[in-house]
């Protein structure tokens, strides 16, 4: 009977003794010896090869056999020979990956490990960034499992790896070494420049050095984070420097010519030139980040938020920030950015408007109207609505409880310095299906997994603390980020799909609300249980990014029920045409998001822009329903032929009438060209249901 062995690539091959003989002979020659037929027979007699023995196993046996026969030097040579081949194979794999990447249709498709990377074009710089990613994943896992073993024992560490490998849980951003995202206070920079974080810049002292220094500072900070960098004080500080230069009433004299050069620029022109410098610079691919641009977020505040956050703030000259001028500057920036986006595809900054709600409406009526006006003008940004100014979303995905609003010179500006250290996500669809199949109450199973996740996060936190103790995290030491205000985040994915599996209809109903509250309540319970004076946890419905696509693929391969190619990042099925716009706000309303302490964003996809009155009413809807974080997403059209950008969702370029058009839409919170998504994400985007404003018949008779 013929014996087949299994090669490394899984293929079967007819077993022949000659190949082994050959390899052993070579090993003898390598140490200057010669293997006789008798020696070879003695060595080979130790081997046990049966059908489907693997090559790896046979080689292990050869090593043992050589040593058993006393040929230690030869065994060593044989091991070296094996190691060299392993390295060759590894290099070959990298080479294959490289060639695949070079031939992929776009950068996201080529990226194997972290496809949502904010990279528009692939080139040698992005390739250089891709190559070490697999190494980072291994390194991160090793660091983490070593620490878990030390803190909780080997069993827990093994269970973690097993759950990770079986895709019950997903460790986000494993391809980077840095902590995740942060909303920073720029106060230490304002006082001391970048010296404390390893730079050499002195503090900004005028508008020009503020703008230039700000760009450098954001690049530096971003290189020490794996995710987003939010600068909620950006416009407030800029306002301060404009006031220093042109007077506190500058906004009343915006048309005044203040530039003595031939340009004869007005105050307004000087300011918009600053906007241009900062925004265009920060949208550039960054060398230090593998050609990714930085992920930059800013915030706008209504009068009440501003007061709550910055009432006690003082600039170095002892002055408090001025609302009247900041109000003007916020409006100016937003309008400028909206118009600038017609000239160029600008992803950053991701903007969040923070509004306080009261009695079912926006408390600051002027800002409610202004927000609606900007949406009606086609501007794309997030809105955060809260009943109390005690929480803030300063990041594209992060909601923070502000525990202390007060400004302190030692901690920086109250409330704005925060973030998420690390995100670990549970795949609820798999976890719940697995539990049901194995007759385990799914609540108990989830609780068990979530408990482990907390321990893993604590281990991560210890590693971070060690890095900080060795002076590796200057952002913390210098006060840009307050480690006490940083969260360890438990992410959820596959919630909707799990509910569907359980036969629950995905719509606003007591049954579905109960399921959501029950599942998320388990996580919140654990978050509270593990909270200490130094460690805080939150729970977030993570943006699907590529995780939703990966989970769907893995779960389908393993025989789980998978209703779509990308798991939802929403509480409703994104392609369901029966869920109307108001239902979506309700499904992201207080009943459903109650336990999502880390937030979730409703991306309300619409085919057409609404009027200002309609957006204004939807702000009321958000306030009434308690939907605290949302944006409206109307795909913008970019002409591939003439480059014209239009804020509407069009089939044809209105400028040159070309039908060769692409769309800009939000993925993971960032405006991007659809053709730059990975293929799976493109599929999801195509399926997304953009509520047609005119879905109901224009007339019954029409």
């Amino acid at each position: 009977m013929e014996t087949y062995i299994i090669k490394r690539d899984g293929k079967k091959e007819l077993f022949t003794i000659d190949k082994i003989k050959n390899a052993i002979s070579k090993a003898f020659l390598a140490v200057g010896a010669f293997a006789t037929e008798e020696t070879l027979t003695n060595i080979l007699s130790h081997l046990r090869v049966s059908n489907e023995t693997t090559v790896e196993d046979i080689q292990n046996q050869v090593e043992v056999a050589l040593m058993a026969e006393g040929y230690y030097q030869v065994a060593k040579a044989y091991m070296l020979y094996r190691h060299q081949h392993t390295e060759d194979r590894d290099t070959q794999r990298r080479l294959d990956f490289m060639m695949n990447y070079v031939q992929a249709s776009n950068a996201a498709e080529g990226s194997k490990f972290d496809a949502n990377a904010n990279v528009e074009h692939k080139n040698i710089a992005t390739l250089i960034g891709e190559l070490p990613k697999q190494g980072f994943i291994r390194l991160n896992r090793r660091l983490l499992t070593e620490r878990i073993k030390e803190m909780f024992g080997k069993e827990l560490s093994d269970r973690y790896m097993s759950l990770l490998n079986q895709h019950f849980i997903y460790k986000n951003d494993e391809t980077n070494l840095a902590n995740y995202c942060a909303s920073i206070t720029m106060y230490p920079w304002l006082i001391g420049g970048t010296k404390s974080i390893g730079g050499n810049a002195t503090p900004p002292h005028n508008l020009k050095s503020f703008c230039g220094g700000f760009i450098n500072m954001v690049f530096m900070v971003s290189s020490m984070l794996s995710g987003a960098c939010a600068t909620p004080e950006f416009l407030m500080y800029m306002n301060y420097f404009i006031e220093q230069e042109y007077g506190d009433d500058y906004y009343k004299r915006a048309d005044e010519i203040v530039d003595l050069s031939k340009k004869r620029r007005t105050i307004d022109k000087v300011i918009t030139d600053c906007f241009q410098q900062v925004v265009y610079s920060l949208n550039q691919p960054s060398g230090a980040r593998n050609f990714q641009s930085v992920f930059w977020n800013i915030s706008y505040y209504d009068r009440y938020y501003f007061k709550s956050l910055f009432e006690n703030f003082r600039f170095p000259n002892g002055e408090a920030p001025h609302w009247e001028s900041l109000d003007w500057l916020q409006r100016r920036f937003m309008n400028w950015f909206n118009e600038e986006r017609l000239r160029c595809v600008l992803t950053f900054p991701v903007e969040t408007m923070a509004l306080l709600a009261e009695n079912g409406d926006i408390k600051d009526k002027e800002y409610g109207d202004f927000t609606a006006e900007m949406y009606a003008k086609g501007h794309s940004f997030f809105t955060y609505v809260s009943d109390n100014a005690d929480s803030l979303s300063s990041c594209c995905r992060l909601r923070n409880e502000i525990t202390d609003n007060g400004f302190s010179y030692t901690l920086g500006a109250g409330g704005v310095s925060t973030g998420s250290k690390s995100v670990l996500t549970i795949n609820l669809n798999r976890a719940i299906q697995y539990a049901v199949r194995n007759n385990i109450p799914y609540q108990a199973y989830i609780e068990d997994v979530v408990d482990l996740m907390h321990k893993v996060q604590l281990a991560y936190n210890e590693n971070l603390k060690t890095l900080q103790e060795r002076g590796m995290l200057p952002l913390f030491d210098a006060g840009y980020i307050n480690i006490g205000r940083q969260y360890l985040t438990i992410g959820v994915n596959g919630l909707v799909e799990a509910a569907e599996f359980l036969g629950i209809e995905i719509k606003d109903s007591p049954e579905y609300a109960h399921f959501v509250q029950e599942v998320l309540g388990i996580i919140e319970k654990k978050n509270k249980e593990y909270r200490t004076k130094n460690v805080m946890f939150n729970c977030e419905m993570i943006p699907a990014e590529n995780v939703g696509v990966k989970h769907a693929k893995w779960d389908r391969e393993d025989g789980y029920v998978v209703p779509r190619d990308c798991y939802n990042s929403y509480f409703y099925i994104v392609e369901d045409t029966n869920i109307n716009v108001l239902d979506r706000f309700r499904l992201h309303g207080r009943q459903y998001i109650e336990h999502l302490t880390g937030g979730s964003a409703l991306h309300c996809n619409l085919e057409e822009h609404l009027s200002q009155e309609q957006y204004r009413q939807l702000l009321r809807v958000a306030a009434i329903e308690g939907c605290n974080y949302f944006t409206f997403n109307i795909p913008n059209t970019v002409c591939n032929d003439c480059g014209h950008i239009d804020k509407r969702y069009l089939k044809e370029c209105p400028h040159c009438h070309s039908k060769n058009v692409d769309y800009l839409t939000r993925v993971i919170g960032y405006m991007k060209r659809v053709s730059n998504f990975s293929e799976a994400r493109q599929k999801e985007a195509a399926k997304r249901y953009y509520a047609e404003a005119s879905k109901a018949p224009k007339c019954v008779c029409e």
């Binding site: 009695n359 079912g360 409406d361 009606a376 003008k377 086609g378 109307n580 716009v581 108001l582 239902d583 706000f585 619409l606 057409e608 822009h609 609404l610 009027s611 009155e613 309609q614 009413q617 939807l618 009321r620 809807v621 009434i624 329903e625 804020k647 509407r648 404003a693 005119s694 879905k695 109901a696 018949p697 224009k698 007339c699 019954v700 008779c701 029409e702």
Partner: protein, 181 residues
């Protein structure tokens, strides 16, 4: 009268967040109709209770209720619109009362509007209603769908949307043609 489906719409009634009730049994049979199924006898009977339930579900969220069709029984449409006007409690926000709209396909608007008769009279006359001044709508759309002329979004449309402003009606059809943002 039966309602085949409902939806929340934005383009049909400018400036409003509208609960649109798609009424079936449409007698118009316009060639090229986008919703021919609404000519059939489908859906649930539209009772005051059903209407009340829907409005309660979106209380404070919608600003307008639109009856899409119902040309087979205009008197019933008017009665239900009247009922809405009389039976709603004040909303919690500063939006005033819930507005009502009727998308009718019956009249040839241009003919009806000659001799400067008010829309409400026109609507009443063409549909055999009484009580012209008290017509319980804030918006009325008139005109059948004529494929060659297009719907309201087409500048060549024969259809007209009127908005009540005080005691008179204003033709706001042109607001559908605004293209740029």
């Amino acid at each position: 009268m039966k309602v085949a489906s409902f939806d929340i719409v934005f383009q049909e009634i400018p400036g409003e967040v509208t609960l649109a009730l798609n009424l079936s049994n449409c007698p118009c049979h316009c060639p090229g109709c986008h919703s021919p199924h609404l000519a059939e006898d489908i859906g649930e009977p539209l009772t005051a209770e059903l209407l009340d339930g829907l409005i309660a579900r979106y209380k404070g969220l919608i600003t307008c209720v639109a009856f899409m069709g119902g040309d087979a029984d205009p008197a019933e449409v008017a009665r239900l619109a009247e009922w809405i006007k009389n039976h709603q409690s004040p909303m919690t926000n500063d939006q005033s009362v819930l507005r009502t709209a009727w998308y009718s396909g019956r009249q040839q608007a241009p003919e009806c509007l000659t001799a400067q008769r008010s829309v409400s009279e026109t609507v009443c006359q063409c549909n055999g209603l009484s009580g012209a001044a008290g017509l319980p709508f804030d918006y009325v759309k008139l005109g059948p769908y004529i494929e060659s002329l297009g719907g309201l979004k087409s500048p060549t449309t024969n259809q007209r949307l009127y908005k009540r402003v005080g005691e008179s009606w204003v033709d706001i059809t042109s607001s559908f043609w605004k293209k740029e943002l």
